[in-house]
Structures are given as structure tokens and as C-alpha cells.
Symmetry: C2
Subunit: 197 residues, 2 copies
């Protein structure tokens, strides 16, 4: 049967069936149990991960031991420490599985081969980078400018599914507030008769 990654490539990156068969043996999938690390601070990141099933998070831990979630990655999302991967530096970040997760381990070999086989894939890769930048910029703009409540509302509309799957304290960590504050924000919203969750 066709894997989630394979259909994704065909649908989004313009990879054809014959191209896929050339790539197939380079596609390595790995299963992670809840809590398991895909990347640990200090390691050099060697892969880009494509999440086929489950949910992963990309986060840092500050001096005081507090976690700050930069990004979530549910099904059909890519996740990686691009800085570490591309520049061969040891990572400052962690990636772990929030749920039992299976991920495609995309390495340089794969990317290289796929880019050779398909110019569309190369184009698509750039598209992903550009899109990633766009998201990060929006996020920064929001962190600078918006209140906790606004950020939470944005989160809900942007990731409605995650709002249910992810524990609240992680959402709080993503928003840059404490779980207690998020709880209060939610209470206020409930009083305002808001039912987005």
C-alpha cells in the first residue's frame, strides 16, 4: 500500500509513479513512542522529518529549565532543525513525539536524488522553505504585537485540530505564557460566550 509520504509527494511535489519507484528504497520510516526524542540538544540534526502519523513538537529549554515550543507538527507536516541540518552545527533544540508517531527520515541522499530526478521536487522544496519563513514571520509579528488572548484565538483558528489533541500546558508554552494564564484566558473567553473549542 502507498504510504502517506508517497501520496504526499505525488500530490504536492509533482513526483510521478515511475519516479517514486526510483526513490522508494531511499524512504526510511521510523516509529517513535510517545515522549521519545527525534532530535536532542547537542546532536547534529541529520534529517528532515515528515510526520506520517502522530504528533511531534520542536522546542527549546531555557536556563531555568522551561520549555518553549517553537512548532508543532501533526500528520503531513515537515519538521527539522534546519539550522543544524544545513550548517552541520549541533542543535539547540529538541524534537520529541507528543503521541506515538511514525516519521519519514528524509536525509540529504534522498533530497539530492529526488532533486536530480525531478526539477519539480526542487521547486517544491524551495516552496516549503519560503512558506516556512512566511509562517515564522507571522508568528513573530504576533508575538511582538498581540495579547495572550489574541494569540490563543489565532492558534485555535490556525490549528483547530491541535487545540484538542495537545495538552493545554503545551499550547501555553507555544503561546509564550504559563498554563495558569491560559486557563484564565479561556475562562474570560468562556464568559464572553466564545465556543471555539
Amino acid at each position: 500500500m502507498e504510504s502517506a509520504f508517497e501520496s504526499y509527494l505525488k500530490k504536492n511535489a509533482g513526483i510521478t509513479e515511475p519516479q517514486l519507484s526510483q526513490l522508494k528504497n531511499k524512504i526510511i520510516t521510523k516509529a517513535f513512542t510517545k515522549g521519545e526524542f527525534l532530535l536532542h540538544k547537542g546532536q547534529v540534526c541529520r534529517h528532515s522529518f515528515f510526520i506520517e502519523k502522530g504528533l511531534a513538537r520542536f522546542y527549546s529549554i531555557d536556563r531555568e529549565g522551561k520549555e518553549h515550543i517553537i512548532q508543532f507538527a501533526p500528520e503531513n507536516w515537515f519538521l527539522s532543525d534546519r539550522g543544524s541540518l544545513f550548517f552541520n552545527e549541533s542543535s539547540e533544540f529538541f524534537i520529541d513525539a507528543i503521541e506515538d508517531t511514525t516519521a519519514v527520515m528524509i536525509d540529504e541522499h534522498f533530497n539530492h536524488l529526488a532533486s536530480e530526478i525531478s526539477p519539480q521536487f526542487r521547486k517544491y522544496n524551495e516552496r516549503i522553505l519560503q512558506n516556512h519563513i512566511r509562517h515564522l514571520q507571522k508568528r513573530i509579528s504576533q508575538l511582538i504585537g498581540a495579547s495572550a488572548e489574541e494569540r490563543y484565538l489565532d492558534f485555535i483558528t490556525l490549528y483547530p485540530d491541535l487545540t484538542l489533541r495537545v495538552p493545554q500546558w503545551m499550547i501555553a508554552s507555544f503561546l509564550g505564557i504559563t498554563p495558569e494564564s491560559l486557563s484564565r484566558v479561556r475562562k474570560v473567553l468562556a464568559k464572553k460566550n466564545f465556543h471555539g473549542f
Copy 2:
């Protein structure tokens, strides 16, 4: 005489002298006076800007009319709304000149031609994207996790030259605090006998 952009290309993007002569007539430079817009909200961004001289800023304006600076770009930096440029969407952001500025207007033609001529240039372009992502991630990590004082100290070490060239209220806007708060942060640092500025 060789322009700043030309030497930059040779030094960083692996462009050779003969390649450069092929590209030369595609390099369009434009001067902006202080305060002039390079990009205005609502426009589709058509260029990536390489700052040869001067200083520009990339920012948003929220509902209440407050500016939030996402990025500064001094000499030898690139600046663009990549989201708008790549996806042909109208921009949510502004770019304007903080000082009198001359910028190279890099469009798709140029990128396409340069990528054809030089595979190194293509590689270099990806490098810029990756690096950009890395910076944005660090910034997010910091906005989520660090106090105003920490963020200011980081700003100083990261952009020592900008600390002098940019008015304080813009630095405040970059840090996500009010000018008054920044003034107080500086006061506290001065008392602590800090002399980084």
C-alpha cells in the same frame, strides 16, 4: 567601479567575473530617501532587496496603528516579503528606508538567470533561506522565553552597529516593548554598570 552587490556575489555566491558580466545588465539599483517605501502593505512584493548603502526596516502595523518591526537590514543584507514575493499575494507588511538608502532590486529574472548560469548561486540562495529560518527561529525562541532586558542585551550583541544607528523607539518596536520600557531597561543596565552602548 564594482558595486557592493557585485563584490558580494563574487565573494559569497561563487559568481565569477565572466558570469558577472552576463548578469550585469540585469542588476537594477534604486535610491530611496529616508522614509520612502520600498514596499507598501497591499502591494504584491516583486523584488528581493539587497541593501548597498543605508538602512531599511520590515514591519507591520496593527489595528491600533502600532508598528512592529520584524527585521532591520543594513548594508549587505537582503530584505523582502518572501511570502508575498513567492506566492504572489498582497503583502501585510511595509518596508521603508530608515536612512537614505540604495538597494539592488532583485527580481525573478535575475534569480532565474543567475541560477542557470551558476549552480553555486542556486546553492547559495538556498543557504540564505535556511539561514533566514534559523534566525527567525531563534528570534521566536527569544520572544517566547526571554525578558525585555535579556532581549535588549541580545540585540546589542547581535547588532552592535544598529544600536547606534537606529532610534531607540524602533529598537523598542523590534523588541516588542514600548519606548518608555526600553528607556527604563537601559536605566537599570546603566546602574548595573553596563557599558555596551
